[in-house]
């Protein structure tokens, strides 16, 4: 590239009017060893841009870790959620079991021991139960009789109301 064309291109570059192709021409031009003194810094600038473009990651190690992360992570995630869900269910079961145990313990402690298993003979137990039920039904019978007496009051009240409304 002759110097006048170079100056022209540089001018375009500074005013932000160069195309990508023209910018590449400038970069390529300044890669050459021979550069006049006054353009030394400009050359360094374009060389710096070209040099920076070579800056790269450690390819193999980076790819390997990334692929491991990307593929391993999803499997690990699935495993983790599976384990987590079963742990949750297990925790629920443990809570229910513990609650049942405590309630049973509480009931046993509060219930008087003499009530539990009073009779060893099933026949005797049956007789006693029958006796107790008979007693209850007898009490119900008595109560019913008493209730009938109360009913008489009701009927009397109704009669009074009838007479008072007819008056």
């Amino acid at each position: 590239m002759d110097s006048s064309k170079l100056q022209q291109l540089l001018q375009k570059y500074w005013s932000g009017e160069t195309t990508l192709e023209e910018e590449q021409l400038l970069k390529d031009h300044f890669q050459q060893a021979e550069v006049p003194d006054k353009l030394r810094e400009v050359a360094a600038m374009f060389r710096y841009y070209e040099q920076t473009k070579k800056n790269a990651l450690n390819d193999i190690a980076f790819d390997r870790t990334l692929i491991e992360k990307v593929t391993g992570k999803s499997k690990q995630g699935r495993m983790r959620s599976l384990v987590f869900n079963s742990m949750r269910i297990a925790a629920g079961v443990v809570v229910v079991m513990a609650a049942t145990w405590f309630i049973r313990k509480e009931i046993r402690q509060t219930t008087p021991q003499e009530v539990v298993d009073t009779y060893n003979d099933p026949k005797l137990a049956f007789e006693e139960t029958k006796k107790a039920l008979m007693m209850i039904s007898k009490s119900f019978g008595n109560a019913e009789e008493q209730a009938k007496k109360i009913n008489m009051f009701n009927e009397a009240q109704e009669e009074i109301q009838k007479t008072s409304t007819s008056d």
Binding site: E41, A44, Y49, N55, L57, D63, L66, I67, V70
Partner: protein
């Protein structure tokens, strides 16, 4: 998208993403971390990839957003401003970078590192990576005018600082 097409189509863009993230963060490990995160996101959202027209620009945009998030958390955590980190990174030349040309290249790196963020990113995308203006608009989520203005200012700031260095040795 299966793993094979992910490896052949998406993965090769990694160095561009890395350089872009590095331009934001100035730290190689952090940049690498960002690139990894971008790819994990792309893989997890691979079902929607078919709807994306320019997936390279899409990846670059995710890189930009993640890098900006990272900068925010970094500035919250550290008391030392990020720009200082940049200066350290670029001002310490390796033994191989002792020639004069290398020195002036490292000065350029410093000048660019000192630019405001948008200008720095736009000049990187254009002059290092060679993206078209439309692509830069898509990546940076800016309109054409903003992209051109940022590029113009960035190039001229670089030029001005280079002239100062030449004239006064500053």
């Amino acid at each position: 998208m299966n793993l094979e097409s992910f490896q052949t189509r998406v993965l090769p863009v990694k160095n561009k993403l890395y350089r872009f993230a590095l331009r934001f963060l100035g730290n190689e490990d952090e940049a690498q971390d960002i690139v990894q995160e971008v790819f994990i996101r792309v893989w997890n959202g691979r079902e929607q990839m078919t709807e994306v027209q320019n997936w390279e620009a899409w990846c670059m945009r995710i890189t930009k957003n993640l890098s900006l998030d990272r900068i925010r958390t970094m500035t919250r955590k550290q008391t030392q401003p990020i720009e200082e980190g940049f200066a350290i990174m670029h001002s310490a030349p390796s033994p191989y970078e002792s020639t004069e040309a290398k020195e002036s290249m490292s000065r350029i790196a410093q000048i660019i590192a000192g630019l405001p963020e948008k200008q720095r990113q736009v000049i990187h995308l254009r002059d290092v990576e060679g993206y078209s203006y439309n692509e830069i608009c898509e990546i940076m989520e800016l309109d054409m005018n903003q992209v051109k203005v940022n590029l113009f200012r960035a190039r001229n700031a670089v030029r001005e600082k280079m002239t100062k260095i030449n004239a006064y040795g500053l």
